[in-house]
Protein backbone atom coordinates (compact mmCIF):
# COMPACT_ATOMS: atom_id res chain seq x y z
CA UNK A 1 0.00 0.00 0.00
CA UNK A 2 2.78 2.36 1.00
CA UNK A 3 4.63 1.55 -2.23
CA UNK A 4 1.56 2.31 -4.37
CA UNK A 5 1.03 5.55 -2.49
CA UNK A 6 4.65 6.56 -3.02
CA UNK A 7 4.38 5.82 -6.74
CA UNK A 8 1.12 7.74 -7.03
CA UNK A 9 2.34 10.83 -5.17
CA UNK A 10 5.66 10.76 -7.06
CA UNK A 11 3.89 10.40 -10.42
CA UNK A 12 1.55 13.34 -9.67
CA UNK A 13 4.50 15.44 -8.49
CA UNK A 14 6.55 14.85 -11.63
CA UNK A 15 3.61 15.21 -14.03
CA UNK A 16 2.90 18.60 -12.44
CA UNK A 17 6.54 19.60 -12.58
CA UNK A 18 6.90 18.59 -16.25
CA UNK A 19 3.59 20.19 -17.20
CA UNK A 20 4.80 23.49 -15.78
CA UNK A 21 7.81 23.38 -18.10
CA UNK A 22 6.75 25.37 -21.15
CA UNK A 23 9.78 24.11 -23.05
CA UNK A 24 8.96 20.46 -22.37
CA UNK A 25 5.30 20.85 -23.26
CA UNK A 26 5.99 22.81 -26.44
CA UNK A 27 8.53 20.18 -27.48
CA UNK A 28 6.00 17.44 -26.71
CA UNK A 29 3.38 19.07 -28.92
CA UNK A 30 5.23 20.84 -31.73
CA UNK A 31 7.85 18.24 -32.60
CA UNK A 32 5.37 15.34 -32.92
CA UNK A 33 3.03 17.22 -35.23
CA UNK A 34 5.92 17.98 -37.57
CA UNK A 35 6.87 14.32 -37.68
CA UNK A 36 3.21 13.33 -37.93
CA UNK A 37 2.87 15.56 -41.00
CA UNK A 38 5.86 13.78 -42.55
CA UNK A 39 4.25 10.42 -41.78
CA UNK A 40 0.91 11.49 -43.32
CA UNK A 41 2.59 12.73 -46.51
CA UNK A 42 4.61 9.51 -46.74
CA UNK A 43 1.39 7.54 -46.38
CA UNK A 44 -0.43 9.51 -49.06
CA UNK A 45 2.31 9.32 -51.64
CA UNK A 46 3.46 5.79 -50.89
CA UNK A 47 0.18 3.90 -51.33
CA UNK A 48 0.85 2.14 -48.02
CA UNK A 49 -1.12 -0.61 -46.30
CA UNK A 50 -3.39 0.33 -43.39
CA UNK A 51 -5.49 3.36 -42.66
CA UNK A 52 -4.69 6.96 -41.85
CA UNK A 53 -5.54 6.28 -38.19
CA UNK A 54 -2.98 3.47 -38.31
CA UNK A 55 -0.36 6.02 -39.32
CA UNK A 56 -1.60 8.60 -36.82
CA UNK A 57 -1.26 6.20 -33.91
CA UNK A 58 2.28 5.32 -34.98
CA UNK A 59 3.15 9.00 -35.17
CA UNK A 60 1.56 9.58 -31.76
CA UNK A 61 3.61 6.77 -30.24
CA UNK A 62 6.71 8.35 -31.75
CA UNK A 63 5.87 11.37 -29.62
CA UNK A 64 5.42 9.26 -26.48
CA UNK A 65 8.78 7.58 -27.09
CA UNK A 66 10.51 10.92 -27.69
CA UNK A 67 8.96 12.31 -24.53
CA UNK A 68 10.06 9.29 -22.49
CA UNK A 69 13.57 9.33 -23.89
CA UNK A 70 14.05 13.06 -23.67
CA UNK A 71 12.21 13.27 -20.34
CA UNK A 72 13.99 10.42 -18.55
CA UNK A 73 17.42 11.57 -19.61
CA UNK A 74 16.68 15.25 -19.45
CA UNK A 75 14.89 15.06 -16.13
CA UNK A 76 17.74 13.21 -14.42
CA UNK A 77 20.28 15.61 -15.89
CA UNK A 78 18.09 18.55 -14.90
CA UNK A 79 17.83 17.15 -11.37
CA UNK A 80 21.61 16.92 -11.27
CA UNK A 81 21.90 20.55 -12.42
CA UNK A 82 19.33 21.85 -9.95
CA UNK A 83 20.87 19.78 -7.15
CA UNK A 84 17.83 17.61 -6.38
CA UNK A 85 19.37 14.32 -7.54
CA UNK A 86 21.43 13.97 -4.36
CA UNK A 87 18.39 14.71 -2.21
CA UNK A 88 16.43 12.03 -4.08
CA UNK A 89 19.17 9.42 -3.76
CA UNK A 90 19.66 9.84 -0.02
CA UNK A 91 16.05 9.08 0.96
CA UNK A 92 15.13 5.80 2.69
CA UNK A 93 13.06 4.09 -0.08
CA UNK A 94 14.88 2.13 -2.81
CA UNK A 95 15.93 4.41 -5.65
CA UNK A 96 13.65 2.44 -7.98
CA UNK A 97 10.60 3.86 -6.18
CA UNK A 98 11.95 7.38 -6.59
CA UNK A 99 12.83 7.15 -10.29
CA UNK A 100 9.98 4.96 -11.55
CA UNK A 101 7.31 7.66 -11.00
CA UNK A 102 9.51 10.09 -12.90
CA UNK A 103 9.89 7.85 -15.96
CA UNK A 104 6.18 6.98 -15.86
CA UNK A 105 5.40 10.69 -15.67
CA UNK A 106 7.54 11.45 -18.73
CA UNK A 107 5.76 8.69 -20.67
CA UNK A 108 2.41 10.09 -19.49
CA UNK A 109 3.34 13.56 -20.71
CA UNK A 110 3.82 11.84 -24.08
CA UNK A 111 0.02 11.62 -24.21
CA UNK A 112 0.11 15.30 -25.09
CA UNK A 113 2.03 14.23 -28.21
CA UNK A 114 -0.47 11.52 -29.07
CA UNK A 115 -3.40 13.90 -28.60
CA UNK A 116 -1.72 16.68 -30.60
CA UNK A 117 -0.90 14.24 -33.40
CA UNK A 118 -4.43 12.88 -33.62
CA UNK A 119 -6.03 16.35 -33.49
CA UNK A 120 -3.56 17.64 -36.09
CA UNK A 121 -4.31 14.69 -38.36
CA UNK A 122 -8.07 15.12 -37.90
CA UNK A 123 -7.92 18.87 -38.67
CA UNK A 124 -5.56 18.89 -41.64
CA UNK A 125 -5.30 15.36 -43.02
CA UNK A 126 -8.85 14.05 -42.55
CA UNK A 127 -7.77 11.32 -40.18
CA UNK A 128 -10.91 9.60 -38.87
CA UNK A 129 -10.87 9.35 -35.08
CA UNK A 130 -13.34 6.49 -34.71
CA UNK A 131 -11.93 3.68 -32.59
CA UNK A 132 -13.50 0.28 -33.23
CA UNK A 133 -12.98 -1.12 -29.73
CA UNK A 134 -12.91 1.75 -27.23
CA UNK A 135 -12.57 -0.54 -24.19
CA UNK A 136 -9.52 -2.33 -25.60
CA UNK A 137 -8.12 1.05 -26.67
CA UNK A 138 -8.64 2.41 -23.14
CA UNK A 139 -6.68 -0.55 -21.76
CA UNK A 140 -4.00 -0.54 -24.46
CA UNK A 141 -3.16 3.14 -24.04
CA UNK A 142 -2.10 3.09 -20.35
CA UNK A 143 -0.39 -0.28 -20.86
CA UNK A 144 1.63 1.20 -23.74
CA UNK A 145 2.49 4.24 -21.63
CA UNK A 146 3.59 2.07 -18.69
CA UNK A 147 5.63 -0.16 -21.03
CA UNK A 148 7.46 2.84 -22.42
CA UNK A 149 7.89 4.34 -18.96
CA UNK A 150 9.52 1.12 -17.76
CA UNK A 151 11.84 1.11 -20.77
CA UNK A 152 12.70 4.68 -19.78
CA UNK A 153 13.59 3.34 -16.33
CA UNK A 154 16.45 1.29 -17.78
CA UNK A 155 17.71 4.34 -19.65
CA UNK A 156 17.37 6.53 -16.56
CA UNK A 157 19.68 4.22 -14.62
CA UNK A 158 22.52 5.08 -17.03
CA UNK A 159 21.67 8.77 -16.79
CA UNK A 160 22.17 8.54 -13.01
CA UNK A 161 25.67 7.19 -13.48
CA UNK A 162 26.95 9.18 -16.44
CA UNK A 163 26.76 12.97 -16.43
CA UNK A 164 26.53 13.21 -20.20
CA UNK A 165 24.38 10.16 -20.88
CA UNK A 166 21.55 12.33 -22.18
CA UNK A 167 23.54 12.50 -25.44
CA UNK A 168 22.42 8.88 -25.74
CA UNK A 169 18.81 10.01 -25.92
CA UNK A 170 19.45 11.77 -29.23
CA UNK A 171 21.03 8.62 -30.65
CA UNK A 172 18.17 6.35 -29.62
CA UNK A 173 15.23 8.44 -30.82
CA UNK A 174 15.11 7.72 -34.56
CA UNK A 175 16.39 4.10 -34.56
CA UNK A 176 13.63 3.07 -32.16
CA UNK A 177 11.01 4.80 -34.34
CA UNK A 178 12.23 2.67 -37.24
CA UNK A 179 12.77 -0.73 -35.61
CA UNK A 180 9.46 -0.70 -33.73
CA UNK A 181 7.31 0.07 -36.76
CA UNK A 182 6.16 3.47 -35.52
CA UNK A 183 7.15 5.35 -38.67
CA UNK A 184 7.08 2.68 -41.38
CA UNK A 185 5.71 -0.84 -41.38
CA UNK A 186 8.09 -3.50 -40.06
CA UNK A 187 7.38 -5.54 -43.18
CA UNK A 188 9.53 -3.02 -45.09
CA UNK A 189 12.50 -3.58 -42.77
CA UNK A 190 15.26 -6.19 -43.16
CA UNK A 191 14.65 -9.51 -41.39
CA UNK A 192 17.19 -8.90 -38.62
CA UNK A 193 15.13 -5.98 -37.35
CA UNK A 194 12.36 -8.40 -36.27
CA UNK A 195 14.02 -9.83 -33.12
CA UNK A 196 15.08 -6.34 -32.04
CA UNK A 197 11.53 -5.07 -32.40
CA UNK A 198 10.15 -7.96 -30.33
CA UNK A 199 12.05 -6.91 -27.20
CA UNK A 200 10.97 -3.27 -27.42
CA UNK A 201 7.69 -2.31 -25.77
CA UNK A 202 6.79 0.41 -28.32
CA UNK A 203 6.39 -2.32 -30.98
CA UNK A 204 3.71 -4.09 -28.97
CA UNK A 205 2.21 -0.88 -27.62
CA UNK A 206 1.56 0.63 -31.03
CA UNK A 207 0.29 -2.68 -32.40
CA UNK A 208 -2.13 -2.96 -29.48
CA UNK A 209 -3.46 0.55 -30.16
CA UNK A 210 -3.76 -0.14 -33.89
CA UNK A 211 -5.52 -3.45 -33.35
CA UNK A 212 -7.98 -1.81 -30.93
CA UNK A 213 -8.60 0.99 -33.44
CA UNK A 214 -9.38 -1.31 -36.38
CA UNK A 215 -11.40 -3.95 -34.48
CA UNK A 216 -8.63 -6.54 -34.44
CA UNK A 217 -7.46 -8.51 -31.41
CA UNK A 218 -5.17 -6.27 -29.31
CA UNK A 219 -4.98 -8.54 -26.23
CA UNK A 220 -1.88 -10.57 -27.20
CA UNK A 221 -0.04 -7.29 -27.85
CA UNK A 222 -1.27 -5.86 -24.55
CA UNK A 223 -0.04 -9.02 -22.81
CA UNK A 224 3.38 -8.79 -24.46
CA UNK A 225 3.65 -5.15 -23.49
CA UNK A 226 2.95 -6.09 -19.86
CA UNK A 227 5.43 -8.98 -19.91
CA UNK A 228 8.15 -6.78 -21.37
CA UNK A 229 7.30 -4.09 -18.82
CA UNK A 230 7.82 -6.62 -16.01
CA UNK A 231 11.17 -7.66 -17.51
CA UNK A 232 12.22 -3.99 -17.80
CA UNK A 233 11.21 -3.46 -14.16
CA UNK A 234 13.48 -6.27 -12.97
CA UNK A 235 16.38 -5.14 -15.19
CA UNK A 236 15.80 -1.50 -14.18
CA UNK A 237 15.81 -2.41 -10.49
CA UNK A 238 19.18 -4.16 -10.66
CA UNK A 239 20.64 -1.57 -13.05
CA UNK A 240 19.61 1.25 -10.71
CA UNK A 241 21.08 -0.54 -7.68
CA UNK A 242 24.32 -1.08 -9.56
CA UNK A 243 24.58 2.41 -11.05
CA UNK A 244 23.54 4.14 -7.83
CA UNK A 245 26.38 2.41 -5.98
CA UNK A 246 28.83 3.21 -8.78
CA UNK A 247 27.70 6.84 -8.76
CA UNK A 248 28.34 7.01 -5.00
CA UNK A 249 31.75 5.43 -5.50
CA UNK A 250 32.74 7.69 -8.37
CA UNK A 251 31.06 10.84 -7.06
CA UNK A 252 28.99 11.57 -10.17
CA UNK A 253 25.73 12.50 -8.42
CA UNK A 254 26.47 16.19 -8.28
CA UNK A 255 28.24 18.63 -10.53
CA UNK A 256 30.75 19.64 -7.85
Amino acid sequence: MRILRLLWVGWKFHVKSLTLSAFFILTSILQPIIFASVAYFMFRTGAREGTLLYVALGAGMMGIWSSTLFGSGGAIQWQRWQGTLEYCIAVPPPFLLVILPLTLATATIGLYSLTATLVWGWLFFDVPLEVADPLAFAVALPVAVVGLGLLGLILASTFVMYRNANALSNLLEYPVWLVTGLLVSLSLMPGWVGPISWVLAPTWGVNALREAAIAGNPWPEIGMCLVLGAVYLVIGHFALQHFERLARERATLSLT
Binding site: R5, T84, P92, R245, R248, E249
Partner: protein, 322 residues
Protein backbone atom coordinates in the same frame (compact mmCIF):
# COMPACT_ATOMS: atom_id res chain seq x y z
CA UNK B 1 27.36 5.80 22.91
CA UNK B 2 28.50 8.10 20.12
CA UNK B 3 25.67 9.02 17.75
CA UNK B 4 28.02 9.79 14.87
CA UNK B 5 31.40 8.07 14.52
CA UNK B 6 33.95 8.65 11.80
CA UNK B 7 36.93 6.35 11.96
CA UNK B 8 39.94 7.02 9.75
CA UNK B 9 37.83 8.13 6.78
CA UNK B 10 39.59 8.56 3.46
CA UNK B 11 38.14 9.71 0.18
CA UNK B 12 40.03 9.98 -3.09
CA UNK B 13 38.65 11.49 -6.29
CA UNK B 14 39.94 10.60 -9.71
CA UNK B 15 40.15 13.56 -12.06
CA UNK B 16 41.46 13.90 -15.58
CA UNK B 17 42.96 16.63 -17.73
CA UNK B 18 43.38 16.84 -21.49
CA UNK B 19 41.04 15.87 -24.32
CA UNK B 20 42.74 13.22 -26.46
CA UNK B 21 45.61 12.27 -24.19
CA UNK B 22 43.92 12.12 -20.86
CA UNK B 23 46.06 12.26 -17.78
CA UNK B 24 44.46 10.86 -14.66
CA UNK B 25 45.23 12.14 -11.23
CA UNK B 26 44.06 11.03 -7.78
CA UNK B 27 43.07 13.84 -5.44
CA UNK B 28 42.88 12.97 -1.74
CA UNK B 29 40.01 15.11 -0.46
CA UNK B 30 39.79 13.47 2.97
CA UNK B 31 42.85 11.88 4.58
CA UNK B 32 42.12 9.94 7.74
CA UNK B 33 39.37 11.92 9.43
CA UNK B 34 38.17 10.58 12.79
CA UNK B 35 35.77 12.08 15.32
CA UNK B 36 32.78 11.23 17.47
CA UNK B 37 29.63 13.21 18.21
CA UNK B 38 27.66 12.49 21.36
CA UNK B 39 23.89 12.54 21.74
CA UNK B 40 22.42 16.03 21.70
CA UNK B 41 25.77 17.60 20.84
CA UNK B 42 26.22 20.38 18.29
CA UNK B 43 29.53 19.60 16.64
CA UNK B 44 31.19 22.00 14.23
CA UNK B 45 33.45 21.04 11.36
CA UNK B 46 35.39 24.16 10.53
CA UNK B 47 37.69 24.63 7.59
CA UNK B 48 38.53 26.69 4.52
CA UNK B 49 37.08 25.98 1.06
CA UNK B 50 38.31 22.65 -0.28
CA UNK B 51 39.34 21.41 3.16
CA UNK B 52 37.16 18.28 2.93
CA UNK B 53 34.12 19.37 4.97
CA UNK B 54 31.48 18.62 2.34
CA UNK B 55 33.16 15.37 1.30
CA UNK B 56 33.16 14.23 4.93
CA UNK B 57 29.50 15.12 5.38
CA UNK B 58 28.54 13.39 2.12
CA UNK B 59 30.18 10.20 3.31
CA UNK B 60 28.25 10.39 6.58
CA UNK B 61 24.90 10.91 4.84
CA UNK B 62 25.54 7.98 2.44
CA UNK B 63 25.99 10.05 -0.74
CA UNK B 64 29.63 9.07 -1.14
CA UNK B 65 31.28 5.76 -0.37
CA UNK B 66 34.55 6.20 1.55
CA UNK B 67 37.68 5.01 -0.20
CA UNK B 68 38.65 3.51 3.16
CA UNK B 69 37.72 3.81 6.82
CA UNK B 70 34.32 3.43 8.40
CA UNK B 71 31.55 5.66 9.68
CA UNK B 72 28.46 4.92 11.72
CA UNK B 73 25.34 6.90 12.53
CA UNK B 74 23.35 5.61 15.51
CA UNK B 75 25.37 2.41 15.19
CA UNK B 76 24.47 1.85 11.52
CA UNK B 77 27.30 1.58 9.03
CA UNK B 78 26.96 4.29 6.36
CA UNK B 79 27.84 1.86 3.56
CA UNK B 80 26.32 -1.46 4.66
CA UNK B 81 23.18 -0.07 6.37
CA UNK B 82 22.64 3.00 4.20
CA UNK B 83 18.83 2.71 4.36
CA UNK B 84 18.80 2.65 8.17
CA UNK B 85 21.11 5.66 8.26
CA UNK B 86 18.90 7.56 5.81
CA UNK B 87 15.81 6.97 7.96
CA UNK B 88 17.36 8.60 10.98
CA UNK B 89 19.09 11.62 9.49
CA UNK B 90 18.13 14.94 7.99
CA UNK B 91 20.56 17.02 5.98
CA UNK B 92 20.73 20.47 4.50
CA UNK B 93 23.24 21.79 1.99
CA UNK B 94 23.91 25.49 1.74
CA UNK B 95 23.05 27.49 -1.37
CA UNK B 96 20.06 27.87 -3.62
CA UNK B 97 20.23 24.55 -5.43
CA UNK B 98 18.28 21.46 -4.43
CA UNK B 99 14.64 22.53 -4.74
CA UNK B 100 12.14 21.79 -7.50
CA UNK B 101 11.97 25.32 -8.82
CA UNK B 102 8.78 25.04 -10.88
CA UNK B 103 6.76 23.72 -7.96
CA UNK B 104 5.63 25.46 -4.81
CA UNK B 105 7.35 25.24 -1.47
CA UNK B 106 4.40 23.20 -0.24
CA UNK B 107 4.64 20.75 -3.17
CA UNK B 108 8.34 20.29 -2.44
CA UNK B 109 7.67 19.51 1.21
CA UNK B 110 4.69 17.28 0.42
CA UNK B 111 6.77 15.13 -1.94
CA UNK B 112 9.66 14.68 0.46
CA UNK B 113 7.27 13.96 3.34
CA UNK B 114 6.09 10.98 1.31
CA UNK B 115 9.64 9.89 0.51
CA UNK B 116 10.53 10.02 4.20
CA UNK B 117 7.50 7.96 5.17
CA UNK B 118 5.68 10.60 7.22
CA UNK B 119 2.27 9.04 8.03
CA UNK B 120 -0.42 10.49 5.69
CA UNK B 121 -2.43 12.02 8.54
CA UNK B 122 0.67 13.75 9.93
CA UNK B 123 1.85 15.28 6.65
CA UNK B 124 -0.29 18.43 6.63
CA UNK B 125 0.17 19.32 10.32
CA UNK B 126 3.89 18.54 10.13
CA UNK B 127 4.37 20.79 7.10
CA UNK B 128 2.40 23.53 8.88
CA UNK B 129 4.63 23.22 11.96
CA UNK B 130 7.77 23.46 9.86
CA UNK B 131 6.52 26.39 7.78
CA UNK B 132 5.95 28.18 11.06
CA UNK B 133 9.38 27.19 12.37
CA UNK B 134 11.27 28.44 9.31
CA UNK B 135 9.08 31.48 8.70
CA UNK B 136 7.62 30.51 5.33
CA UNK B 137 4.01 30.53 6.46
CA UNK B 138 1.88 32.33 3.85
CA UNK B 139 4.43 31.87 1.04
CA UNK B 140 4.17 28.08 0.73
CA UNK B 141 1.89 28.09 -2.33
CA UNK B 142 4.26 30.24 -4.39
CA UNK B 143 6.60 28.64 -6.89
CA UNK B 144 10.05 28.06 -5.40
CA UNK B 145 11.71 29.76 -8.41
CA UNK B 146 10.42 33.07 -7.02
CA UNK B 147 11.91 32.51 -3.57
CA UNK B 148 14.91 34.49 -2.38
CA UNK B 149 18.08 32.61 -1.48
CA UNK B 150 17.17 32.85 2.20
CA UNK B 151 13.69 31.45 1.61
CA UNK B 152 15.11 28.52 -0.35
CA UNK B 153 17.55 27.89 2.44
CA UNK B 154 14.71 27.87 4.96
CA UNK B 155 12.79 25.51 2.71
CA UNK B 156 15.82 23.20 2.81
CA UNK B 157 15.78 23.27 6.60
CA UNK B 158 12.07 22.40 6.66
CA UNK B 159 12.65 19.57 4.18
CA UNK B 160 15.47 18.16 6.29
CA UNK B 161 13.26 18.07 9.39
CA UNK B 162 10.08 16.60 7.88
CA UNK B 163 10.53 13.17 9.48
CA UNK B 164 11.76 14.65 12.78
CA UNK B 165 15.19 13.00 12.52
CA UNK B 166 17.32 12.65 15.68
CA UNK B 167 20.50 13.52 13.75
CA UNK B 168 20.84 16.55 11.49
CA UNK B 169 23.71 17.43 9.12
CA UNK B 170 23.99 21.06 8.09
CA UNK B 171 26.54 21.86 5.39
CA UNK B 172 27.28 25.61 5.42
CA UNK B 173 23.60 26.49 5.91
CA UNK B 174 24.16 30.25 6.16
CA UNK B 175 26.38 30.61 3.10
CA UNK B 176 25.31 33.55 0.95
CA UNK B 177 22.56 34.73 3.29
CA UNK B 178 22.18 38.35 4.28
CA UNK B 179 23.07 39.14 7.93
CA UNK B 180 19.46 39.08 9.12
CA UNK B 181 18.68 35.85 7.31
CA UNK B 182 21.86 34.26 8.64
CA UNK B 183 21.01 35.35 12.18
CA UNK B 184 17.51 33.89 11.93
CA UNK B 185 18.90 30.66 10.59
CA UNK B 186 21.41 30.44 13.42
CA UNK B 187 18.53 30.92 15.85
CA UNK B 188 16.73 28.01 14.18
CA UNK B 189 19.84 25.83 14.49
CA UNK B 190 20.16 26.78 18.15
CA UNK B 191 16.52 25.84 18.76
CA UNK B 192 17.11 22.45 17.13
CA UNK B 193 20.04 21.86 19.47
CA UNK B 194 17.86 22.84 22.42
CA UNK B 195 15.27 20.33 21.23
CA UNK B 196 17.88 17.61 21.70
CA UNK B 197 18.92 16.97 18.11
CA UNK B 198 22.44 15.79 17.45
CA UNK B 199 23.86 18.19 14.88
CA UNK B 200 26.92 18.27 12.68
CA UNK B 201 27.42 21.77 11.30
CA UNK B 202 30.06 22.69 8.76
CA UNK B 203 30.95 26.32 8.31
CA UNK B 204 33.83 28.62 7.63
CA UNK B 205 32.37 31.42 9.72
CA UNK B 206 34.26 31.45 13.03
CA UNK B 207 31.71 33.48 14.96
CA UNK B 208 29.00 31.05 13.86
CA UNK B 209 30.95 28.07 15.17
CA UNK B 210 31.84 29.98 18.32
CA UNK B 211 28.24 30.97 19.00
CA UNK B 212 26.61 27.63 18.24
CA UNK B 213 28.94 24.68 18.69
CA UNK B 214 29.62 22.64 21.80
CA UNK B 215 32.74 21.23 20.17
CA UNK B 216 34.68 22.06 17.02
CA UNK B 217 37.05 20.13 14.79
CA UNK B 218 39.20 22.19 12.44
CA UNK B 219 39.80 20.43 9.15
CA UNK B 220 42.41 21.47 6.62
CA UNK B 221 43.64 19.67 3.50
CA UNK B 222 41.56 16.63 4.39
CA UNK B 223 42.85 16.20 7.93
CA UNK B 224 41.60 17.22 11.35
CA UNK B 225 44.20 19.61 12.72
CA UNK B 226 42.56 20.43 16.06
CA UNK B 227 39.53 19.43 18.07
CA UNK B 228 37.97 20.77 21.25
CA UNK B 229 35.52 23.30 22.66
CA UNK B 230 35.67 26.85 21.28
CA UNK B 231 37.37 27.85 24.54
CA UNK B 232 39.99 25.08 24.11
CA UNK B 233 40.84 26.30 20.63
CA UNK B 234 41.09 29.93 21.72
CA UNK B 235 43.37 28.82 24.53
CA UNK B 236 45.84 27.49 21.95
CA UNK B 237 46.63 31.07 20.96
CA UNK B 238 45.70 32.78 24.22
CA UNK B 239 49.28 33.57 25.09
CA UNK B 240 49.85 35.33 21.78
CA UNK B 241 49.15 38.80 20.44
CA UNK B 242 47.63 39.96 17.17
CA UNK B 243 49.04 42.97 15.32
CA UNK B 244 46.90 44.47 12.55
CA UNK B 245 48.54 46.84 10.08
CA UNK B 246 46.42 48.71 7.54
CA UNK B 247 48.32 49.12 4.27
CA UNK B 248 47.30 50.83 1.02
CA UNK B 249 48.84 48.46 -1.52
CA UNK B 250 50.75 45.56 0.03
CA UNK B 251 54.13 45.17 -1.73
CA UNK B 252 54.84 41.84 -3.36
CA UNK B 253 56.53 39.29 -1.10
CA UNK B 254 55.44 41.03 2.12
CA UNK B 255 53.67 38.00 3.57
CA UNK B 256 56.72 35.84 3.01
CA UNK B 257 58.99 38.45 4.62
CA UNK B 258 56.71 38.90 7.66
CA UNK B 259 56.42 35.13 8.06
CA UNK B 260 60.21 34.99 8.21
CA UNK B 261 60.35 37.25 11.27
CA UNK B 262 61.22 35.50 14.52
CA UNK B 263 58.18 35.06 16.82
CA UNK B 264 55.54 35.17 14.06
CA UNK B 265 52.92 32.42 14.38
CA UNK B 266 50.75 33.19 11.34
CA UNK B 267 50.14 35.88 8.73
CA UNK B 268 47.03 36.63 6.69
CA UNK B 269 45.83 39.53 4.56
CA UNK B 270 42.25 40.83 4.48
CA UNK B 271 40.76 43.27 1.96
CA UNK B 272 38.93 46.16 3.63
CA UNK B 273 37.54 48.68 1.14
CA UNK B 274 40.53 50.64 -0.31
CA UNK B 275 43.07 49.08 2.04
CA UNK B 276 44.45 45.69 2.95
CA UNK B 277 44.98 44.64 6.54
CA UNK B 278 47.97 42.44 7.37
CA UNK B 279 46.99 40.35 10.40
CA UNK B 280 50.01 38.93 12.20
CA UNK B 281 49.81 36.60 15.16
CA UNK B 282 52.94 36.72 17.28
CA UNK B 283 54.17 35.19 20.49
CA UNK B 284 53.21 37.36 23.47
CA UNK B 285 56.82 37.88 24.53
CA UNK B 286 57.92 39.62 21.32
CA UNK B 287 57.25 43.12 19.99
CA UNK B 288 57.22 42.96 16.21
CA UNK B 289 55.46 46.14 15.09
CA UNK B 290 58.66 47.81 13.90
CA UNK B 291 59.84 44.61 12.28
CA UNK B 292 56.58 44.28 10.33
CA UNK B 293 56.72 47.91 9.19
CA UNK B 294 60.28 47.27 8.03
CA UNK B 295 59.06 44.63 5.59
CA UNK B 296 56.66 47.00 3.81
CA UNK B 297 59.19 48.68 1.54
CA UNK B 298 57.86 52.15 2.35
CA UNK B 299 54.24 51.37 1.43
CA UNK B 300 51.55 53.78 2.61
CA UNK B 301 50.55 52.59 6.11
CA UNK B 302 47.30 53.48 7.90
CA UNK B 303 46.11 52.37 11.31
CA UNK B 304 48.17 49.96 13.44
CA UNK B 305 46.56 48.09 16.34
CA UNK B 306 47.21 45.28 18.80
CA UNK B 307 44.55 43.03 20.28
CA UNK B 308 43.86 39.69 22.03
CA UNK B 309 43.41 36.66 19.75
CA UNK B 310 39.92 35.47 18.83
CA UNK B 311 38.66 32.05 17.70
CA UNK B 312 39.22 33.24 14.14
CA UNK B 313 42.88 33.88 14.94
CA UNK B 314 43.11 30.42 16.47
CA UNK B 315 41.63 29.00 13.29
CA UNK B 316 43.96 30.97 11.02
CA UNK B 317 46.94 29.86 13.08
CA UNK B 318 45.83 26.22 12.89
CA UNK B 319 45.30 26.34 9.17
CA UNK B 320 48.51 28.29 8.58
CA UNK B 321 50.51 25.67 10.50
CA UNK B 322 49.78 23.12 7.75
Amino acid sequence: MAVVEAIDLHRTYRTSTGTFRRKWKDVEAVRGVSFEIGEGELFGLLGPNGAGKTTTIKMLITLLIPTSGTARVLGHDVVKDAREVRKSIGYVFGGERGVYERLSGYDNLRYFAELYGVPPKRIRPRIDELLELVGLRGREQERAEGYSRGMKQRLHIARGLLHDPPVVFLDEPTIGLDPIGARELRATVASLAQAGKTILLTTHYMFEADALCDRIAVINRGQIVAEGTPADLKQRVADGTVVEVEVFGVPEGTVKRVRGLSGVLSVSVEEREQAQVIIVQTRADVELTQGILGTLDGANVGRISRREPTLEDAYVALVAEQ
